[in-house]
């Protein structure tokens, strides 16, 4: 395919990206391989066309960097004015997304609550958790104790019953 001569002019959009776009645009259409290759090259040509035109427009203005405005004017003068609305929409969308992302991260940092207060709340939560754990442990211990006591009592009454049985015999003798 493209020789790795490192020549700038061999730069193209990756074939896979173009294939995907063609498939989404013309679903179920068989596109010849050489046609696909042609589309790839047309892309590069288009980009050069826009860049050159935008660059010229940029040079005529006092700016050194090609701005969105330059690109839009280039599209207009080259006959691609029909692209302008959609292209602007995408730019707006990208900016909105970027803005939301920045806001979201700063929202996390800044819930309006100062750091010491956040720290205090954290400590409170920890203390509560520790307390709950302690209470739970205590309950368990109490239950164990009770169980042990019951076991003891059961054992005691069992042996008491045994003793009671043998002392009854003695009593009978005394009565005579």
């Amino acid at each position: 395919m493209a020789s790795s001569s490192g020549n700038d002019d061999d730069l193209t959009i990756p074939r896979a990206a173009i294939n995907k776009m063609i498939k989404e645009t013309l679903p179920n259409v068989r596109v010849a391989n050489d046609a696909r290759e042609l589309v790839v090259n047309c892309c590069t040509e288009f980009i050069h066309l826009i860049s050159s035109e935008a660059n010229e427009i940029c040079n005529k203005s006092d700016k050194k960097t090609i701005s969105p405005e330059h690109v839009i004017n280039a599209l207009e003068s080259l006959g691609f004015a029909s692209y302008i609305t959609e292209v602007k929409d995408v730019l707006q969308e990208c900016k909105t997304v970027a803005l939301k992302r920045r806001k979201a991260s700063s929202r996390l940092e800044n819930l309006g609550i100062p750091e010491e207060e956040l720290l205090r709340q954290q400590q409170e939560l920890f203390a509560k958790a520790r307390q709950q754990q302690a209470e739970l442990a205590q309950q368990e211990w109490l239950q164990m104790q009770q169980a042990a006591q019951q076991a003891q009592m059961a054992a005691a009454s069992a042996s008491a019953a045994q003793q009671a049985g043998s002392s009854q015999d003695e009593d009978e003798e005394d009565d005579i």
Binding site: L26, H48, T65, E86, D89
Partner: protein, 116 residues
């Protein structure tokens, strides 16, 4: 629901499929182009996407493959020739001819020489 359809259409429009970094590289390989604002780059990338779609659809509609649901090289070449805004593509779009036609015309040419 209509909202779903709108979402699909808008998500189609509002995301970019082509790699922006590659577009930047290609732009910079243009003579004299120095620096490009990031937003300008986004615009160019999206415009290129629209171009691909436009070229594909126009060539298909204009072409001979509609019945067979196919798109050929000559469909593209013809459409580019017939559409004024696509004339910038003529340099990279030589109309292909069959090898045997070329060889035949070459023979004819040589024959002419021979007569001489």
């Amino acid at each position: 629901m209509s909202q779903n359809k709108d979402d699909l259409a808008s998500s189609n429009k509002k995301t970019i499929s082509l790699p922006i970094s590659r577009v930047r590289l290609i732009m910079k390989s243009s003579p004299d182009v120095s620096s490009i604002n990031q937003d300008a780059l986004v615009l160019t990338t999206k415009a290129t996407e629209l171009f691909v779609q436009h070229l594909a659809v126009a060539s298909f509609n204009n072409g001979s493959g509609k019945e067979t649901n196919s798109l050929s090289y000559s469909d593209l070449a013809n459409t580019a020739e017939e559409t004024e805004t696509l004339h910038f593509l003529t340099d990279i779009l030589p109309k292909k001819i069959l090898a045997r036609d070329y060889l035949t015309s070459l023979e004819d040419f040589q024959e002419e020489d021979a007569d001489f």
